[in-house]
């Protein structure tokens, strides 16, 4: 690995959080590169430790690469998401977790400089193909974003918007029903049932996040992508969302990005560890947390890194 490349990686990682941090000197970098090269000697040959396939895959991703302009944000990523399965995506900040799940519903289309290559499939349908209908894809693959982003409309309208778009309810009563069950499942109903007409943006941060979850499940997608859905929630709301994830996994495939190792351990069956744009290790959650196969994974899950 070249010194420049590492410097570049570090720049990116630092660039995300704080632009003013001084970069390490070249000599420091050189020693770091030496370390990395020995540590990740196997990285280049066998890219991912563990088994990235799922027995009954809903989504399959092979050789996925993402570029933001010249930045290579995802490198040769392989990963399956199985039916009725929760996959946790963990890794240090800026390693490409969000980038990865945004590929799965073509959300990266909205970023002009983003370029996605590779073979991504939902039940065998090519996600990345030019002729793929992204509207249909996004109805099938729902997403909860990292930052809560309710519409500046009423709570009711927030949840009803998706079902109305797709014509899921034939009358007002059905729509009310969908809104109520979605809010209940997101654990928000009791708090908002008397203020359905108030703007969704007037809720607290945690409530907004649950509103976004309700909005996503209201269209009954086949796959649900969650980007740190609990980062703004208190332990009680978090527990409720984790219950919801459990419940949803009976019917749906779920990918969840989280910075909480405990949460990953609680909700997921499999865990993928991302590092600098690569999937370092994928395995059952048990295995990743108790007996990781890669030095980097071990460092991360034991808290020595990131």
């Amino acid at each position: 690995m070249a010194v420049e490349a590492v410097r570049q990686d570090i720049t990116e990682e630092l660039g995300r959080t704080d632009n003013k941090v001084d970069l390490p000197s070249m000599s420091e970098l050189a020693s770091y590169v030496a370390d990395q090269d020995t540590e990740s000697g196997s990285e280049a040959d066998s890219p991912t430790v563990g088994d990235y396939t799922a027995a009954d895959p809903v989504m399959t991703v092979r050789d996925c690469n993402v570029f933001y302009g010249d930045t290579h944000a995802l490198i040769d990523v392989n990963l399956d998401i199985g039916r009725n399965e929760v996959v946790a995506l963990i890794g240090p900040s800026g390693c490409g977790k969000s980038t990865f799940i945004r590929c799965l519903n073509r959300m990266n289309d909205t970023i002009d400089i983003a370029r996605v290559t590779g073979d991504l499939r939902l039940y065998g349908d090519d996600i990345n193909a030019r002729k793929t209908d992204v509207v249909l894809l996004r109805a099938r693959v729902g997403m909860v974003f990292q930052k809560p982003n309710p519409f500046p409309k009423s709570v009711y309208e927030n949840v009803a918007y998706g079902p109305r778009l797709h014509g899921l309810a034939s009358n007002r009563a059905e729509l009310d029903e969908i809104v109520q069950t979605s809010l209940e499942r997101a654990g928000l109903w009791d708090e908002v049932k008397d203020r359905l007409e108030e703007p969704g943006t007037g809720l607290s941060g945690g409530q907004q996040q649950r509103l976004c979850i309700a909005r996503t499940i209201a269209v009954s997608p086949e796959v649900i992508l969650m980007d740190e859905p609990c980062s703004a929630l208190d332990p009680i709301a978090t527990a409720r969302i984790e219950d919801l994830i459990d419940e949803l996994s009976q019917n749906y495939a779920i990918a969840i990005v989280t910075h909480s190792m405990q949460q990953a351990a609680r909700v997921s069956q499999r865990t993928a560890y991302f590092h600098l744009g690569r999937v370092i290790e994928v395995d059952t959650t048990d295995k990743v947390f108790t007996n990781p196969g890669h030095k980097l994974t071990e460092d991360y899950v034991t808290g020595r890194f990131g």
Binding site: N105, V135, G142, N149, P152, Y161, L165, G202, T216, V219
Partner: protein, 433 residues
């Protein structure tokens, strides 16, 4: 150890204090400058308003003279047929003259009689004719009526004419002043609210001239401008921001829209003359052409403001909409456009306000003509308020001075209303995100 750390702590504190002092001073200074410039600006506005108001408020009242008019059937309708043709063609000025002669029997000689009759506006005859045509039954009766006085009388009554100036350098003569004083003594002179100022068109006689025609012309023009420029501007902005491919052509269009916004307005007038009048053969002096020209002028402003409003919609809202499966079009029209609407409306209203105050391009398309008729449709010849101001400011009669200021007041009132509407709309539609 502790003392060392606490002394360094003190050191830091004292440094912070020293710098705090400086920072607060700078802040106070800045606030002072800000307040000073705001006050200066306000002062200029106040001076402007005060001078216009003090010059113009008298125009809303008009001096009237009370006359006992005998609707003499021999003059109005010698045939006794009550034929409308004959009624409307009759010599009503004679009725006024007779009434004046009755009031001042001692006045004789052509010159003096003419001077006496000059005290009443020539519009009085039109007023009498209107009464007769409305109700022919008045013929033969005697009525006591308040009729508009001549503009010079009006000026004298409003105190704009100095009686001590030698007779030769004022337009109202000593004998006329004597008669007026006599009329005042008989309580036959008073000020009335000047309704005609708001309803009539232009006239050579100041006491008959009004802004009705110009206001209506301006209104037609603004309606045409709004109907064309608002939808076009928004459609262009939405297309350029949301749908247009990013390439050299679109860049070129963008640059040119920005350039258009900076083109002097008279150039648009020339363009309008060449294209709308000479090429498409639209009528001269018509508000519809003015509206088209002002549309050209307003479009870039609306497009630029609308695009800024669209870009200000946070990307998270777009992602949210796309994330639940909205198509690009649905995302734009369900979320982006409603959120950008306040900004677009503000841009449009500011553009319209500029258009309302514009006169240069209208000169080129003939809207500076002297037009007495109040326009009935956007295709009739008309002037606009700012042009009317210009025309009156150019007239020699003293009475037009106050009318100019009054017209400016009406124009300013329109602008204030429009700007208030912009603020109100923004407040009404403004949403937090």
């Amino acid at each position: 150890m502790t003392s060392a750390s606490s002394s360094s702590q003190d050191d830091v504190l004292s440094k912070v204090r020293a710098s705090l002092d400086r920072r607060y001073k700078r802040e106070r200074r800045f606030r002072l400058y800000g307040a000073a410039s705001a006050i200066l600006g306000l002062a200029f506005v106040a001076i402007l308003f005060a001078s216009i108001f003090s010059n113009g408020y008298t125009a809303f009242w008009q001096t009237h003279v009370q006359l006992d008019i005998y609707f003499d059937p021999d003059i109005i309708d010698p045939d006794g047929q009550r034929d409308p043709q004959a009624l409307s063609g009759a010599n009503y000025t004679k009725l006024v003259r007779n009434a004046m002669a009755e009031l001042f029997p001692g006045v004789s000689g052509r010159r003096d009689r003419r001077a006496l009759n000059g005290l009443v506006s020539s519009g009085a005859a039109y007023e009498l004719r209107r009464m007769v045509l409305e109700d022919p039954a008045v013929v033969g009766s005697k009525r006591t009526l308040w009729l508009a006085a001549d503009d010079e009388v009006d000026m004298l009554m409003k105190g704009y004419i100095d009686r001590n100036v030698p007779q030769s350098s004022r337009r109202i003569k000593d004998n006329q002043i004597g008669w007026i004083d006599e009329l005042v003594g008989q309580d036959r002179v008073r000020q009335q609210f000047n309704r005609g100022f708001f309803t009539s068109g232009d006239s050579r006689e100041p006491e008959l001239a009004g802004i009705g025609g110009a206001t209506k012309g301006s209104m037609y023009m603004l309606i045409v401008t709004f109907l064309l420029s608002f939808p076009l501007g928004i459609a262009a902005a939405v297309y350029l921001e949301e749908f247009a491919p990013r390439n050299r052509w679109v860049d070129l269009i963008e640059v040119n829209i920005n350039n258009l916004a900076a083109v002097p307005s008279i150039v648009f007038g020339l363009l309008g003359l060449a294209v709308f009048i000479n090429f498409f053969g639209l009528p001269r002096s018509a508000p519809v052409v003015g509206g088209l020209v002002l549309t050209l002028m307003t479009l870039p402003t609306i497009i630029i403001a609308s695009r800024a409003a669209i870009t200000a919609v946070p990307p998270s809202v777009r992602e949210a909409a796309l994330g639940v499966g909205a198509s690009h079009m649905q995302m734009v029209f369900h979320h982006v456009v409603p959120l950008a609407m306040p900004g677009m409306l503000t841009g449009a209203i500011i553009g319209m306000a500029r258009a309302l105050g514009e006169s240069a391009p209208l000169l080129m398309i003939g809207m500076i003509a002297f037009i007495v008729e109040v326009p009935g449709t956007p295709f009739d010849p008309a002037t606009a308020l700012p042009v009317q101001v210009y025309l009156w400011a150019d007239s020699p009669e003293r009475a037009f001075v106050e009318r100019t200021s009054a017209a400016i007041m009406v124009l300013l009132a329109f602008l204030l209303v429009m700007n208030a509407a912009a603020i109100w709309l923004r407040k009404k539609f403004e949403r937090r995100w």
